[in-house]
């Protein structure tokens, strides 16, 4: 039994080696997200047949882009921390607190505040501070990031519930919603925004010292420290940037629904994590980047869209989602780069 399994794996390896020598294989190896592209093509093919072509209609592609915007931004946030080999579960909490503050500070039907566009720097600062606290807890108090960020998530979510008294706050400043649901040249604004954040993140990772150090920490923290990387400073900085990104997403979420409540942030962590994994960002750190996060999100959103279009029974959707997820990850993760499978 054991011998057979080894044979299968080595057989796969032989084919992979042979394939990577062909010109198509060289191209496949060159593009960092080729696995994800193949996965997306497969998903698209299945759904195109399943929905008699409806899946690939322009209107649906625009819908997918519109829906992918906010999850993509969140995924771009969380994946940075994961690249460093840490974990960030504070997403829902930071989104909740920025959402509630956005609701209470923009023109709304509960109080007389109206800060207008000042809300944008406000959520950036608020998210940044929350993220920085994550980083400080992780580095200065030497708490595992998993539990520090989980604690932060609950604290912020609870505070958000308290401030909003658990109810939703309708927003009267319609400008934000108008912008977020608009299209530029047929492409949803929120998607363009997500791509822009993605490009910034990409350059941050590839072209700056911060990016290099991030990967160094993710690869091997001890070695990075010995090589003179100021690990604590980088970690705090990355957590802060991630917090800023969550803050922006919180505001976008509020703008989209034209209403704010603490619980609008619920159910966002899981899709973001899924996108990270499907995108091929290794949960053990050091592997993957912004492109992976972006592709991962598109696959996850396309998947959810396809399940609705194909009219998969809601009672079955979770299960189907799980199975497809496992298949997608099995197909896309780069086992060569990940030394340890935890």
């Amino acid at each position: 039994m054991d011998r057979k399994r080894v044979d299968v794996l080595s057989l796969v390896e032989t084919y992979r080696a042979r394939f990577s020598k062909t010109s198509a294989g060289k191209l496949y190896g060159k593009i960092p997200i080729s696995g994800q592209i193949v996965a997306l093509v497969i998903v698209s093919l299945i759904f195109s047949f399943g929905t008699k072509g409806q899946f690939l209609k322009i209107s649906n592609i625009v819908t997918i882009m519109g829906l992918a915007g906010i999850p993509m931004i969140l995924c771009l946030g969380v994946h940075q921390v994961i690249i460093m080999g840490a974990m960030d579960l504070s997403l829902e909490g930071i989104v909740a607190i920025t959402a509630v503050f956005s609701g209470l500070l923009l023109k709304n039907s509960v109080n007389t505040n109206d800060v207008g566009l000042w809300i944008i720097p406000f959520v950036i600062v608020l998210g940044g501070i929350a993220g920085m606290i994550n980083g400080l807890l992780n580095t200065k108090l030497r708490m595992p990031s998993f539990i520090a960020t989980l604690g932060m998530s609950w604290t912020l979510f609870g505070t958000a519930i308290m401030i909003s008294r658990g109810s939703s706050i309708p927003i009267r400043d319609l400008r934000f919603q108008k912008v977020i649901i608009a299209n530029i040249f047929g492409i949803p604004v929120v998607f363009v925004l997500a791509i822009a954040i993605g490009i910034i993140t990409y350059f941050l990772q590839k072209r700056t010292k911060l990016g290099k150090h991030m990967y160094a920490i993710g690869g091997n923290e001890v070695l990075a420290k010995q090589a003179g990387v100021n690990v604590n400073r980088i970690k705090i900085l990355v957590f802060t940037i991630t917090g800023v990104i969550y803050g922006i997403a919180g505001l976008l979420l509020v703008a989209r629904l034209n209403s704010s409540a603490a619980r609008y942030g619920n159910n966002l962590l899981f899709p973001a994590m899924t996108a990270v994994a499907v995108g091929g960002v290794s949960l053990s750190g050091g592997v993957g980047g912004a492109l992976n996060a972006m592709m991962g999100t598109i696959i996850v959103v396309a998947l959810n869209n396809g399940l609705v279009l194909m009219q998969v029974n809601p009672y079955m959707q979770s299960a189907v989602n799980g199975v497809v997820l496992i298949c997608a990850v099995a197909l896309t993760i780069d086992r060569k780069k990940i030394g340890l499978i935890k």
């Binding site: 658990g166 309708p170 919603q177 989209r256 629904l257 619980r263 619920n266 959810n304 869209n305 279009l309």
Partner: protein, 343 residues
């Protein structure tokens, strides 16, 4: 010695302090009307007090509100203390903090011979008819709520076209009840077709996303039925994103300010309001009728002992009235809201 005596005197006098601050009304010989609720900080719960005060005014009887702030223990102790203070000359409307809490409450009030009515939560195997002083247990009817909102939604497009539905958490019984109501009405109108339904877990964000996807699959739908207001509002924003808000109407259930606004703007067709003003008023009315001998508990049919009631239906015709809180209540028709018995 002197000092000790003084301390004792102060301590003894302290015992009387609570009486000084006690709600003065409770000291009359009239029957006290009391409600046992969770808190006054959320609008739904706070409206229980509005209803109780309203009924107290009609009957010219003192009202005492007991809030347990989430503690079943406190709820029981407060009820016990008020029974003692009024010598049992009291009736209760209680929204049990947790469903098992009705058992000690029922025992306590049975022993004290105090009539009471409960709302919402009760373990299924505990039957009201096993008690003499527990007059009724009432819950709002998910099926009739689903039927009413479906009916109004279909009316908005002339009973002819396709709809989609957003379900709550599939495992919740109230989600299943409301959906059953929708299906009942669908059977009545063969020209209305439910082309797809999705579970959006009561969540606004999820409802938004599911609706965006549903609108791609079924661009020709004429209405969206949602099992609660939160999902209806998520669906409404999804419609707005594709420029169809107001053309395709939504319906929900719960009765939130945001859905009222949407009803006024012509973007939502209807909702069902679980009106706690009515809940406490009618609960006290039933308990008081039993105490005054106007109804004989042992003669009440079982279907009036534990039943589902119809909540307040809200559409464009009465939405202003509901927002202003100026709805009129008929607390004389004790079982007027009855829709179906609870087994």
């Amino acid at each position: 010695m002197m000092k000790k005596g003084l301390i004792v005197a102060v301590l003894i006098s302290l015992l009387f302090v609570p009486q000084l601050f006690a709600q003065a009304s409770a000291e009359k010989a009239d029957t006290t009307l009391s409600i046992g609720i969770r808190t006054l900080t959320n609008p739904y719960q706070a409206n229980y007090k509005v209803g109780a005060d309203m009924y107290g005014k009609i009957k010219d009887l003192p009202v005492v509100t007991l809030t347990c702030e989430g503690s079943s223990e406190k709820q029981l102790n407060d009820v016990r203390a008020l029974v003692a203070r009024t010598n049992g000359n009291v009736v209760f409307m209680i929204d049990p903090n947790e469903s098992p809490n009705v058992i000690p409450l029922a025992r306590e009030l049975e022993a004290a011979k105090v009539y009471w009515v409960s709302w919402w939560n009760k373990p299924d195997d505990i039957k009201v008819w096993d008690y003499k002083y527990w007059v009724s247990h009432i819950s709002f009817d998910g099926i009739s709520a689903g039927e009413y909102t479906a009916e109004k939604l279909f009316e908005s497009f002339g009973y002819n076209g396709k709809i989609v539905a957003l379900q709550g958490l599939l495992s919740n019984s109230i989600a299943q009840d409301r959906f059953e109501g929708l299906q009942n009405v669908l059977k009545k109108y063969p020209n209305v077709e439910l082309v797809a339904y999705e579970a959006a877990d009561w969540d606004r964000t999820m409802a938004y996303e599911k609706t965006r996807n549903l609108l791609v699959a079924h661009p020709d739908i004429k209405g969206i039925w949602a099992a609660n207001d939160n999902m209806a509002l998520g669906a409404l924003e999804a419609l707005r994103a594709v420029g169809k808000a107001g053309q395709i109407l939504v319906t929900g259930t719960d009765g939130t300010d945001e859905i009222y606004e949407a009803i006024k703007k012509g973007e939502a067709a209807a909702t069902v309001y679980n009106d706690s003003v009515y809940q406490s008023g009618i609960g006290l009315a039933i308990a008081l009728a039993a105490k005054e001998g106007k109804i004989k508990v042992e003669n009440l049919p079982r279907e009036h002992r534990q039943y589902f009631a119809e909540a307040t239906n809200v559409d464009i015709n009465n939405v202003d009235e509901i927002i202003a809180g100026s709805a009129t209540y008929d607390f004389e028709d004790l079982f007027g809201a009855f829709t179906r018995p609870m087994d």
